[in-house]
């Protein structure tokens, strides 16, 4: 498959291959090292958390930090907030973007290209540019300092619409035309013929939204003031601030807990994470 196997200069190639493997293994250690350090340090007692060398193998794991997180911050509440925010955005965008993506791909209506063009243009604009007006709008709607301030502005998405449209564009229009002749309404054609074929694109969009909003820090920082509404990333940063360097193993236990849903989802839906990157996501 690779060229290296065919070239006549074999010994040189072998050295190259070995160097390549060494580089990859070193890179894998760099990638995994900090995550492993976080995990193992979260299993050390707060007193020894900052003593070097680190314990790469948790021979005497101490789970008290995990209990301590629950005592010291309302991490259960943060989990709940993050879950509600992420789930509602995922569901909301799945609905709005599937509807609009389908219409932009397969329905004829006046001004379609112009509206879609405006959608595409808004994708270029970074969140920071619009955050002040969004903050004012959220406040006007009476949503400030509530998880609604995170959910409602994120229920529609130009990028999600774009992603779904690209997928529906690959589907043959004849299917719907045939069903129309059989007397099905436009909406029934969408729901029963096309929407069920869009499952892979819906999964990709859902995963992209999950990873984006589960990890989100910027909007929660700006929109939320009371701790009871905090999502996980904001709550963890608060935990770090409150405790100082005294009990870093407790903070790290919180970090590990917050990562568990992402890791579980990755184990079961890795394909769609990778798909999300290659369809050109804008995180």
């Amino acid at each position: 498959m690779t060229v290296s196997t065919v070239t006549p200069r074999r010994p040189a190639v072998k050295i190259g291959t070995i160097v390549g493997i060494v580089v990859l293994v070193l890179a894998a250690m760099v990638a995994l090292g900090p995550l492993l350090w976080t995990l193992t340090t979260s299993l050390r007692t707060p007193a020894e958390a900052f003593t070097n060398p680190p314990q790469w193998l948790p021979l005497h794991p101490d789970f008290s930090n995990y209990a301590a997180v629950f005592q010291q911050i309302p991490i259960g509440q943060f989990f709940l907030n993050s879950t509600v925010v992420t789930a509602l955005i995922v569901v909301g965008q799945t609905i709005t973007c599937t509807l609009s993506g389908y219409a932009f791909a397969l329905v004829k209506f006046p001004g379609k290209n112009a509206i879609f063009g405006i959608f595409l243009a808004t994708m270029m604009v970074p969140l920071q540019t619009i955050i002040i007006p969004v903050f004012v709008i959220v406040k006007t709607l009476g949503l400030s300092d509530s998880i609604g301030s995170l959910i409602i502005p994120a229920l529609g998405s130009a990028f999600g619409t774009f992603l779904m449209r690209q997928y529906f564009m690959q589907m043959p229009p004849e299917l719907g035309e045939a069903a129309r002749i059989d007397g099905a309404s436009h909406f029934k054609v969408f729901l029963h013929v096309y929407a069920r074929m869009a499952a892979p694109a819906v999964a990709t969009l859902a995963i992209l939204n999950f990873s984006g909003f589960w990890a989100e820090f910027y909007r929660p920082l700006i929109f939320l003031q009371s701790q009871e509404h905090f999502t996980l990333p904001l709550g963890l940063v608060g935990l770090q601030g409150n405790l100082g360097t005294g009990s870093i193993s407790v903070v790290l236990a919180g970090v590990i807990l917050a990562m568990i849903p992402s890791v579980l989802l990755f184990v079961f839906a890795q394909r769609y994470f990778i798909e999300g990157v290659t369809t050109g996501s804008f995180r």
Binding site: S100, T278, T279
Partner: protein, 322 residues
């Protein structure tokens, strides 16, 4: 963005007929068309509503707000281009744009070089489990939030107690003032951002290399090209559209860098890692200068658009489209 359109549309296994190939208008066709039009509007209306209220209106509002002085409590006052004049003379803001550009340059270059290098090496592995292992490994850091990464990296890079300086000094190397010096803190921000984001670039490049036509590579091998020559002369030109796309995405993200410096260094020491987005946050949400904050946001947008344009112009001679 154009390249993502291509990748999505090109692999369509289902043949697409020309939409023009339609039956001649039958009686009642106009009513049918109108009904389809109404259906289309209904379908896009939820997305249009949310995108209009929470993206489109805010873009225009940001532009308008940047011409006003507004502290949220009293009524906004029109000040024309005053905010922009003030910005042009504000040392803190100008410095933050400089910091942002330097950090973004470091992040984009390192991320692309590492992402491409790792992708080429992984692409050469022949065993599927080996490919899968490295792909998963390099993606894992993306599963942590930037907030989480900033927290644990902050501990690891601690100058006195951190595990990184511990290993450096035990190897006989000098301890590095990671978060306590200007260059050290900038370097730390670049390193941890690339550590987390490189998997993103890597996955894009692996996908591009995997979909490379094998006949071209065979032709190169028959012509006697070695691995390095094939990489530089064949593979890199073939994936140059992906390189362009990855560069633009990485740059746009890096120019908005906020979480890592905000959490790890609070923009410090001094203003060493105070990025444009941190200055905007301080102006808008700490000093409640919404007009001035909007002006900073608009300038940031213009800089991002300008750099994107420059990258596209520069890429014309470098990017090879099949």
């Amino acid at each position: 963005m154009s390249s993502s359109t291509d990748t999505l549309e090109s692999p369509s296994a289902i043949p697409r007929p020309h939409p023009e190939r339609r039956v001649a208008p039958r009686p009642g066709a106009r009513r049918t068309a109108r009904r389809e039009g109404i259906f289309g509007f209904l379908m896009i209306s939820p997305a249009v509503l949310f995108v209009t209220v929470f993206t489109l209106v805010p873009i225009l509002a940001s532009l308008v707000l940047s011409l006003f002085s507004w502290d949220v409590i009293t009524a906004p006052k029109f000040v024309g281009l005053n905010n922009y004049q003030r910005l042009a003379a504000d040392g803190t803001v100008l410095h933050s744009f400089g910091v942002t550009l330097i950090l973004a340059l470091g992040i984009v270059i390192l991320q692309l070089v590492c992402g491409l290098g790792l992708a080429v090496l992984v692409n050469q592995r022949r065993k599927p489990w080996s490919k899968a292992f490295f792909r998963t490994t390099f993606y894992l850091p993306l599963l942590a939030s930037t907030a989480a990464v900033s927290i644990f990296m902050g501990y690891m890079f601690d100058a006195k107690f951190g595990v990184i300086n511990y290993y450096l000094t035990s190897l006989g190397l000098p301890a590095i003032p990671w978060l306590t010096s200007t260059w050290g803190s900038m370097l730390t921000i670049v390193l941890i951002t690339v550590w987390q984001q490189v998997g993103f670039t890597f996955v894009m490049f692996v996908a591009a290399l995997t979909s490379m036509p094998s006949d071209v590579l065979e032709a190169a091998a028959i012509d006697g090209a070695g691995p390095l020559r094939t990489l530089v002369r064949v593979k890199i030109p073939l994936i140059s559209p992906t390189i362009l796309f990855a560069t633009v995405v990485a740059m746009i993200n890096a120019m908005q860098l906020f979480d890592q410096p905000f959490i790890m260094t609070k923009g410090g020491p001094g203003t060493a890692t105070t990025t444009a987005t941190i200055v905007m946050y301080q102006a808008g949400f700490q000093n409640l200068q919404f007009g001035y904050g909007s002006a900073i946001a608009m300038v940031l947008l213009l800089i991002i658009l300008a750099i994107t344009g420059l990258i596209f112009i520069a890429s014309r001679k470098l990017v090879f489209y099949q």
